[in-house]
């Protein structure tokens, strides 16, 4: 099965593992504080309409993040 390489492109409901974060220091720190760290399993629950944010689940936490920011999160292929 092919798994896409960025969180923003991940299909709904498919678990994937975070590879790395290509974000500037501030965003990176916030993502890590909310549990988006390399090695963690992440899942996209839904996408808001009108190019709105993603609803994701990582560890024991559910988050919303914008697609632009989700593009910074690389997944392990």
């Amino acid at each position: 099965m092919h798994v896409s390489h960025r969180l923003v492109d991940l299909a709904l409901g498919v678990p994937a593992t975070i590879g790395s974060l290509a974000a500037e220091q501030g965003l990176r720190a916030r993502l890590e504080a909310l549990g988006l760290r390399p090695g963690q399993t992440v899942q996209v629950l839904r996408r808001a309409s009108w190019s709105g944010p993603l609803h994701i689940r990582v560890g024991m936490t559910e988050l919303m993040l914008r697609r632009r920011d989700a593009a910074c999160v690389a997944l392990v292929a």
Binding site: A29, A33, S49, D69
Partner: protein
């Protein structure tokens, strides 16, 4: 005095724990060296006087938001005897990091794992003893919301402080940044080891309710209509309960004034008794009659916020807000602004990008706050039949929304930002009744505390302007207020605002709570019914509408201006905010009033 500070991430129930520990003794305190106000309370624990400070919710001591900087400055300026680190027990897989940062700084600390009830519901198992041994810090498991485990928190605090009795007094932290950077590399591995040793996470996500509710409430098509429907219902409910309460209270206060106070004050000279009864008592009475509506509003907003629905609103609205140069948080803060603008503007501290903060601060004052609502409910009831009145109120809410959107569109080019947006969507929670009542009580008290000095000074000033120089007929053209109204007439005549309404508007600049109290003083009528008859006899409904639109759009109050000034730290920006809202108010009222006149409706 011994100082304890509560620190923790957002959504950990930190404030609930604070309220539980302090009862209702909390007050807003100013800290030396910090230009922000923090909630604090004095309490006695085992015969020891303590002060407990509630620090803002933060994700990371090294973070870049205003709140995170506040916590760092606090730690550098204040010697703390004990840090109480509050963590969400079901999210230790990422929250232990904050406890580790505090531990590595060598601060005396107690770790409170809150929301134990939720952790159990989700199948998360935590062993506090193992965690305590590994961290070298005391750890207690509690559920602040249901009041479980509070005794163990008090005991743990006592023990921790007793153990420090022989240690010389605490010193403020130095070189905080450098020390945090030095330990940063080891935190990740340490957190993983702790979780492995002390926490068992469930294989399957167990919160079926949240999943099912989200499927409906975050639905791509139904989500937004459901949200606005829920909000409309909430406002309807507030009016349905609040307005009769307010009318009853107003009549009661008037009765007390006429039957009890008037005879009591009769022996005094007319100027003094008039000042006390018609100035002070009537002014304050008209304002206090509206406290029930305000309390209900805070209660309802508290329920929406604590249930987790407010964060969903940020998710639903973000795509729209992004096109305005804002984000989902700006929407949520504007919504909070419908209660009171001041805390909403303080809430922009969670934003990191100054441009985004400023743009949010520019739109929040257009949120129709409860103080303005008082004026509108009164005027709508006086001038229109119930059905039309409801439509007028709805129109004002719509105007408030349009003004905010227009402002964002006009100014987004001046305040461009690229701030990322990552927010937690907490599980849905059922707020408990005592928790909600405590919260609403604290907010109303805080609101009253903010507003009362302005209200008292304001109504007194209005009365004096109306009755000076001595011997003048109250509120006549010869009185000071009459002179002020006449002086401003060339500016306000074209929008249908007469000299009496002008005085109310001028004082409304201080606080909208004064507008009604001021009108009561200007028209010399305390009873709400009599006051509305007097105003209806004096101005047309088109003038009343223009007055309402102006009241909605111009500067909300002096407190808001002050907080914009202190939060933006820019005088120019504060002037822009005041100037733009005044300009927009005048133009909108002008278009509305002249339009109605041209159409022959006024």
């Amino acid at each position: 005095m011994t100082t304890l500070a509560l620190v923790g991430m957002p959504n950990t129930g930190k404030s609930t724990l604070f309220n539980r520990l302090t009862g209702s003794h909390a007050h807003i305190g100013n800290w030396p060296g910090l230009t922000v106000e923090l909630m604090q309370a004095e309490l006695i624990l085992a015969g020891l006087p303590l002060q407990l400070v509630d620090l803002p919710g933060i994700y990371d001591l090294r973070g870049h938001t205003g709140d995170e900087a506040v916590v760092r400055r606090f730690l550098e300026a204040t010697p703390v005897d004990l840090m109480v680190v509050v963590l969400n027990a079901s999210q230790l897989d990422r929250q232990l990091r904050l406890a580790l940062q505090i531990q590595r700084l060598g601060l005396p600390a107690l770790v409170v794992l809150n929301m134990a009830d939720e952790a159990r519901r989700f199948g998360v198992q935590v062993d506090p003893d193992v965690l305590a041994a590994a961290l070298g810090l005391p750890v207690v498991l509690v559920s602040a919301k249901y009041g479980r485990g509070l005794e163990t928190v008090r005991e743990a605090v006592e023990r921790a402080l007793a153990g420090r009795a022989d240690v010389p007094g605490p010193v403020p932290l130095q070189h905080l940044e450098a020390r945090l950077v030095a330990v940063d590399g080891e935190l990740e591995a340490a957190q993983r080891a702790l979780v492995q040793a002390a926490v068992r996470l469930p294989q399957q996500w167990r919160d079926r309710w949240t999943r099912r509710l989200d499927a409906v409430l975050l639905h791509p098509v139904l989500g937004l209509p459901l949200f606005f429907g829920a909000m409309a219902l909430m406002f309807q409910l507030i009016y349905a309960i609040g307005v009769p309460l307010q009318e009853g209270l107003g009549t009661l206060l008037d009765l007390v004034g006429q039957q009890a106070l008037k005879p009591l004050l009769a022996p005094l000279p007319p100027f003094v008794s008039g000042f006390l009864l018609e100035g002070l008592y009537q002014g304050i009475g008209t304002v206090s009659a509206f406290l029930p509506v305000i309390a209900l509003f805070f209660l309802a907003m508290g329920v929406v916020e604590d249930s987790g629905y407010l964060s969903r609103a940020a998710y639903l609205m973000d795509a729209f807000m992004e096109r305005l140069g804002l984000d989902g948080r700006s929407f949520v803060l504007s919504l909070m602004g419908f209660g009171c603008n001041v805390p909403a503007i303080l809430g922009t501290r969670v934003m990191r990008d100054p441009a985004l903060r400023l743009l949010s601060m520019l739109i929040i004052p257009f949120s129709l706050c409860s103080a303005r609502l008082n004026v509108f409910l009164f005027m709508a009831a006086a001038f229109f039949a119930p059905r039309q009145g409801a439509l007028v109120i709805f129109g004002l809410y719509l105007t408030s929304f349009v003004a905010a959107v227009l402002t964002a569109l006009l100014f987004r080019g001046r305040f461009p930002s690229q701030e990322p947006l990552v927010l937690e969507l907490p599980p849905y929670r059922l707020p408990t009744v005592p928790q909600m009542l405590t919260r609403a009580w604290l907010e109303v008290r805080h609101f009253w505390f903010w507003a009362r000095r302005f209200i008292i000074v304001g109504v007194v000033a209005v009365w004096l302007l109306n009755n000076l120089p001595l011997g003048v007929e109250p509120a006549s053209a010869q009185s000071l207020s009459g002179l002020l109204g006449t002086a401003l007439a060339p500016l306000l005549n074209p929008i249908g605002i007469n000299p009496k309404l002008t005085v109310a508007l001028v004082f409304g600049f201080i606080a909208k709570e004064i507008v009604l109290g001021g009108l009561a003083v200007i028209y010399g009528q305390a009873d709400p019914q009599a006051l509305s008859r007097a105003i209806v006899a004096d101005v047309s409904w088109a003038q009343a509408l223009s007055f309402m639109v102006f009241t909605l759009l111009y500067t909300p109050c002096l407190s808001t201006v002050a907080v914009i000034r202190s939060e933006s730290k820019k005088l120019g920006f504060t002037a822009l905010s005041v100037g733009w809202s005044l300009g927009l108010a005048w133009i909108s009222s002008f278009v509305l009033y002249q339009g109605l006149v041209r159409l022959g409706m006024a």
